[in-house]
Point group: C2
Chain length 363, copies 2
């Protein structure tokens, strides 16, 4: 087995989920990632925990969904019981064909996801990690050979996460006490928002592997200005290009896109919270050096800022502060590598992708 | 997809488990059998039930087991919760390599199986079916090409199970009211036993697909005589050849084998019940026309009788009748195609593999 897979498994079991002997662990991975499931299972055996090892089948899920009447969907009680009794989750993504769900009607997918939402919620309070296996499907989407994509994934994943935590902590210490944040890029993005009283989270590869961002929640009504998301964005396999949003008093009052503008509009119309920002994130993983049409990686890239319309992440919103609620959480990315800066309470903290605490910063 | 796979899936969902819209169904299949998982998932969608679809990984299980200390094994609570909340199970076997567990110490395997015994028990009261996908591993073990093995499996599985039930019912009606059964083959097997008051079960492809046997339980203390099991028998991947047993007052008092006699001895020594018969079964599936070293098929073959040492199957033992208890249930097969007969209460009911109610029977 590729030794990088064993390293990946060690990080998942030791660093990300901190498995101990008393844990009942759920491992889910697609067949193409069976090597990683094998390596994780071995780590779990060494720890002395109890695994449930399931390979997933997107082909079977697709067949089920296409044959189903969405009105029949219910939250499956057996899976709910499984989720509730599980202590820690290791969830691996990886596709032979990322378009496998391409011919499932979007209403069917939405109804299915809604019926399974309680399963996600049962997981949220537990230890869990979502990660990526370098499968041919994602390599193809990234326009990379499988071998090149393997190098990309393992460079991003198999790293010193303690050092990364310390690096990112410098940004947490800037953001956490801040009031106003301003993000400017070219003449297309100039957005201000308050983050007063919100908590900034240091993502150093616990729930996401790779990690590599710090993120917080804007005060929902405080967002003002306009933003152009000039980086790739996929929703249910469809690409929204050059999405732009204009905010007044926190609400999207104008929007457009050069491709699939109707899809963007329908997402914004999902509910009231879908027209407000739920997350502001700063990518800080310097080993992610290119876009791969995969949000797990793209949003962590060093020279980017991402914002999500819709639901705020609960750990960023302390008791008593306003939490944006929505069925939507859609991350969108702004390229900050050129002609761009981030200001915190009037002070520039990043310019053209370089942070104040990095070499080469020009305030 | 091979249309025979769709037929197999229909039989599993409609005939074997009778899935209805309110059911929470668990589907487990190895990756090599993903096509069958896809077809079953589609059937479940059409019915409107809720599936949990898991592909299995014997490689991951092996890695976990080899890395584990058997003293750590416990019944996983999360899987117990899953099993208890499941209404129906579709369990598919199929291997790329049937020796995948070959380097797991047998004590580890035994401790693992024991720790997971409560999971099996939670399933036993529910609707379930175990079946076989024609995978290359089992084809190799049967010394058949994969394509030839596919034909063998689908001939045995995709058939008219109502007609099979009626055919077998003729044997049930002979056995069910019977007292004494005698099985004679050549000069190596002459065994008598009482089946008085026991129930004869007609297996027409419900819990096993293929089905194709009728079976009952001997009165444990009634078995007398000797038997040579001249058909292949595998235990944890090791073959026991020409196992012979001599019974007095129901107990094995002498035993031998031409290969792996020590393994046979250790099985008989497991517990007290392991030295007594728990099952007498008559193979009646005429579409299984050769041995394939796979008990799911071999024991159903038309010209055979099988007997299991160890645990009796509960549905064959009515309340108040003696039920043989054991951790063991090992099926062993006698070839009845030549120089053989079965007598029930002194009357020959099968000679040289042909039943009394079949053409060509010579009483």
């Amino acid at each position: 087995m590729d030794p990088r897979i064993r390293t990946h498994a060690e990080i998942l079991v030791d660093h990300c989920t901190d498995i101990d002997p008393s844990d009942d662990v759920l491992i889910r991975a697609p067949p193409v990632a069976e090597d990683l499931a094998v390596a994780v299972a071995e780590e779990i055996g060494e720890v002395g925990a109890s695994p449930s090892i399931s390979l997933t089948s997107d082909r079977a899920t697709r067949a089920y969904l296409r044959a189903s009447d969405p009105a029949d969907f219910e939250t499956p009680e057996h899976l709910q019981a499984l989720m509730e009794a599980t202590d820690a989750f290791v969830l691996v993504k990886g596709s032979r064909n990322t378009a496998e769900m391409g011919d499932v009607p979007s209403e069917t997918l939405a109804a299915y996801q809604q019926s399974r939402q309680p399963l996600q919620e049962a997981r949220m309070g537990k230890r869990w990690v979502g990660t990526q296996f370098p499968a041919p499907g994602e390599a193809q989407k990234a326009e990379m050979s499988t071998e090149e994509y393997e190098e990309f994934v393992y460079d991003a994943v198999n790293r010193d996460w303690d050092a990364q935590r310390d690096h990112q902590q410098q940004m947490v210490e800037i953001f956490d006490p801040a009031d106003e944040v301003r993000v400017v890029s070219g003449d297309t993005t100039d957005l201000t928002m308050s983050v007063e009283g919100m908590k900034t989270v240091n993502d150093y590869g616990e729930k996401n592997l790779p990690g590599g961002e710090v993120f917080t929640a804007p005060v929902p009504d405080s967002v003002e200005g306009e933003v152009l998301f000039d980086k790739p964005l996929l929703r249910h396999g469809r690409e929204i290009q050059d999405a732009s949003l204009r905010f007044e008093e926190g609400e999207v009052v104008d929007h457009d896109a050069s491709k699939n503008a109707d899809l963007l509009a329908s997402i914004l119309d999902t509910d009231e919270g879908a027209r407000r920002l739920g997350e502001l994130g700063i990518g800080m993983n310097r080993d992610i050096d290119r876009f791969t049409y995969n949000m797990l990686f793209d949003e962590k890239m060093g020279d980017t800022v991402h914002m999500a319309i819709g639901k705020a992440i609960e750990e960023t919103v302390p008791e008593g502060r306003p939490l944006n609620e929505s069925a939507v959480h859609l991350d969108m990315i702004v390229d900050m590598s050129e002609d761009s800066y981030i200001e915190v309470d009037g002070e520039v903290v990043q310019r053209d992708g370089t942070f104040r605490f990095e070499d080469g910063f020009e305030g």
